[in-house]
């Protein structure tokens, strides 16, 4: 794979290629702090997470809960459209009520954030954990193991996961908590891409001298993986994970649309969005609210992800200024997925 090049490299250069830049936490944090948009995004994410965590508080502040029906607030004759402008928004129901039921929209949004964020975060964690473990196994295992695992990556990537999720939902006993199930299903069906990235990285890292040195030192394989390889994976994995997150939010929505999302009366953004599809014209506010929230979430995570990636990689911005830059060593191991 990677071969130490003969040419002299000046001391003091940052290590490149698979080794990645040193991810010194303080340094990363400092760079991140300098990135104003990333900080703003971080603030938004924090706000979202806080709001979700404090959902009961927010609802209590408004004096509402997400499940009580308010039949008086909707017009039954016209299909259950909230009475009043902007989805029936009022001093009592700040963001209006849900068409068809009259449940409080704000309460449902904040409670929904709990589900949507935890499912997508959890699923991302599952994806990353599985992806890293499996990718490591493929990258460090022998030829046979690598082949078998790589093919299963193909398999997982090739599977029409949404439908498979639908089928899987039917198999799992009903007592199983739904959000956890959603998290697992999205996670278990989505590790392929991460594993592929990790495998490529591991193959590069494996050839690095310091990994060889650890082997020479007599360290066992697992120890080598843990101490030498795993830390170097942090940057690409964190970066990828942050980018994966919004996709998982959308996945949850897709599953709701297909009827296998969270169970009623539990709200989630996906559930709200999929039930909102019939209310475009009659009650645009009901569509707009979760959509905007989802957009803000995705935007925040995307910007944050971009920021983290830049912060983890000191070259990213300075490399733009391609003018004077030290000769870089490139490990020529850009993995072609086989």
């Amino acid at each position: 794979m990677s071969k130490a090049l003969t040419a002299a490299q000046a001391p003091g250069t940052t290590p490149q290629g698979g080794a990645g830049p040193r991810a010194d936490r303080n340094q990363v944090w400092r760079r991140l702090r300098a990135d104003r948009s990333a900080i703003a995004a971080l603030a938004v994410v924090a706000l979202l997470v806080l709001t979700a965590a404090a959902a009961p508080l927010v609802a209590a502040l408004e004096g509402q809960d997400p499940t009580t029906y308010h039949n008086a607030l909707i017009d039954s004759a016209t299909g259950g459209v909230p009475i009043g402008p902007f989805g029936g928004a009022s001093a009592v129901h700040w963001l209006g009520v849900e068409p068809g039921t009259g449940r409080d929209v704000l309460a449902r949004l904040v409670y929904g954030a709990q589900i949507s964020l935890s499912v997508s975060l959890g699923a991302t964690v599952v994806q990353i954990a599985l992806g890293v473990l499996i990718g490591l196994a493929a990258g460090l295992g022998n030829r046979l193991a690598d082949t078998v695992i790589s093919r299963s990556m193909d398999l997982v990537i090739a599977f029409p996961s949404l439908v498979f999720a639908v089928a899987l939902m039917a198999v799992v006993p009903s007592g199983f908590p739904r959000p956890l199930l959603l998290m697992l299903v999205i996670g278990v069906l989505g590790w392929g891409q991460t594993a592929r990235i990790v495998r490529g990285q591991v193959l590069t890292l494996r050839g690095l001298d310091y990994v060889s040195a650890a082997r020479l030192a007599g360290s066992r394989r697992w120890r080598v993986a843990r101490r030498e390889i795993l830390p170097a994976l942090a940057a690409p994995v964190i970066t990828y994970g942050v980018l994966q997150l919004p996709l998982n939010v959308a996945q949850e929505a897709g599953l709701s649309f297909l009827g296998v999302g969270v169970r009623p009366p539990t709200p989630s953004w996906g559930q709200m969005l999929s039930s909102a599809t019939n209310w475009f014209q009659a009650d645009p506010a009901y569509v707009l609210l979760p959509a905007v929230l989802l957009f803000v979430t995705v935007l925040a995570f995307t910007v944050l992800g971009e920021g983290v990636r830049t912060a983890l990689d000191p070259r990213a911005e300075s490399r733009l200024r391609a003018g004077i830059e030290r000769r870089r060593k490139k490990t020529d191991a850009q993995e072609v997925p086989a």
Partner: protein, 329 residues
């Protein structure tokens, strides 16, 4: 090259084999009995047994799977009352719930997904790569911001929502165009395109953001390469450097992503198809999963997987073509 193709064929076959087995297992494990549904009201035990036999669900799962595999290589015959249906060699099975050979059901739907994918691909590439290019080179300009926001909004909004939104906007409210109904390209190319414009855009909008980001980071990476420095040192204009030298290298990773996306959408864009009422593989898959029409589920899953695997192989091939350093091994 030949070796590459051979190896790929073998591994594709293996992947698909495992895939079909997994589908059989999952559906077998699920607590449902399609026979009861097919049989309808007031179905007694003996009738149910006959229906089960007809559906082939009376056999143990490995036998069902074995029959399926045998059918793939040797073809099968199905008893349909007073008729015997012969399903020739690559026999993906027979859907008794719709009384159609699975292969035929699938091949009928492929043009839909093909049309959907190809058009959408062109748009998302233009939109995504264009946005990425702008955001790498003209960061902060108005156009760039607008496009980036648009693609991000697209990514943040589930496709079923985007689809319905454009339908309501362009077809219902503004009435700029009729509601799309799928018309085969061979019937009327103009109609085909007109009907597909909205699905194309909805799908493309949802996907472009990823391309924008990929293009951007890849372009920045390439622009930092030493050979770009050479270009600068030799007095080439920035335009020439970007379009002539940087973009090509930058698009190589985009290619891999493209392959997976194209493969996946070819295998069925179920949400988009649902919203626009197009009968593609995705809808076939959803319907058959809901109806527990196992032969169709297996067949459609296999095709979906097949497209991804093939697209991946194609990507590697293109990769080798695009990058002179890479040779197929």
């Amino acid at each position: 090259m030949i070796r590459f193709l051979l190896r790929r064929t073998v591994s594709t076959a293996a992947v698909l084999l495992v895939m079909s087995a997994v589908v059989y297992l999952v559906f077998y494990a699920a607590p449902h009995d399609p026979a009861v549904l097919v049989c309808g009201k007031g179905c007694d035990g003996t009738r149910l047994a006959v229906v089960r036999h007809k559906l082939g669900t009376d056999l143990p799962v490995w036998e069902q799977y074995g029959n399926f595999l045998r059918g793939l290589v040797a073809g099968r015959t199905f008893d349909s009352g007073n008729d015997v249906t012969r399903c020739a060699a690559p026999c993906l099975g027979y859907s008794f719930q719709t009384d159609q050979p699975v292969l035929q059901m699938i091949t009928q739907r492929i043009p839909v997904d093909l049309s959907l994918t190809l058009g959408a691909m062109v748009i998302w590439l233009l939109l995504g790569v264009g946005t990425g290019l702008l955001s790498a080179l003209r960061r902060g300009r108005l156009v760039e911001r607008a496009l980036t926001t648009l693609t991000l909004a697209g990514m943040a909004t589930p496709v079923f929502l985007v689809g319905l939104l454009v339908l309501m906007l362009f077809c219902a409210s503004l009435q700029w165009m009729p509601f799309p109904t799928y018309t085969a390209f061979t019937d009327d190319p103009a109609q085909w395109a007109a009907n597909l414009v909205l699905p194309w855009f909805s799908l493309a909008l949802v996907i472009s953001a990823a391309y924008a980001r990929m293009t951007r980071s890849s372009l920045l990476e390439t622009l930092a390469e030493d050979h770009i420095r050479t270009n600068r040192a030799y007095g080439l204009s920035e335009r020439r450097i970007v379009l002539g030298h940087a973009l090509r290298g930058a698009l190589v990773p985009v290619l891999t992503m493209l392959a997976i996306d194209v493969g996946q959408i070819l295998g069925g864009a179920m949400l988009t198809e649902s919203v626009f009422g197009f009968d593609g593989l995705g809808r076939l898959l959803v319907t058959s999963v809901n109806q527990i029409d196992l032969p169709v589920v297996v067949g459609a899953t296999l095709f979906a997987g097949f497209f991804v695997v093939i697209a991946n192989a194609a990507a590697d091939l293109l990769y080798a073509l695009a990058d002179p350093r890479v040779s197929l091994a």
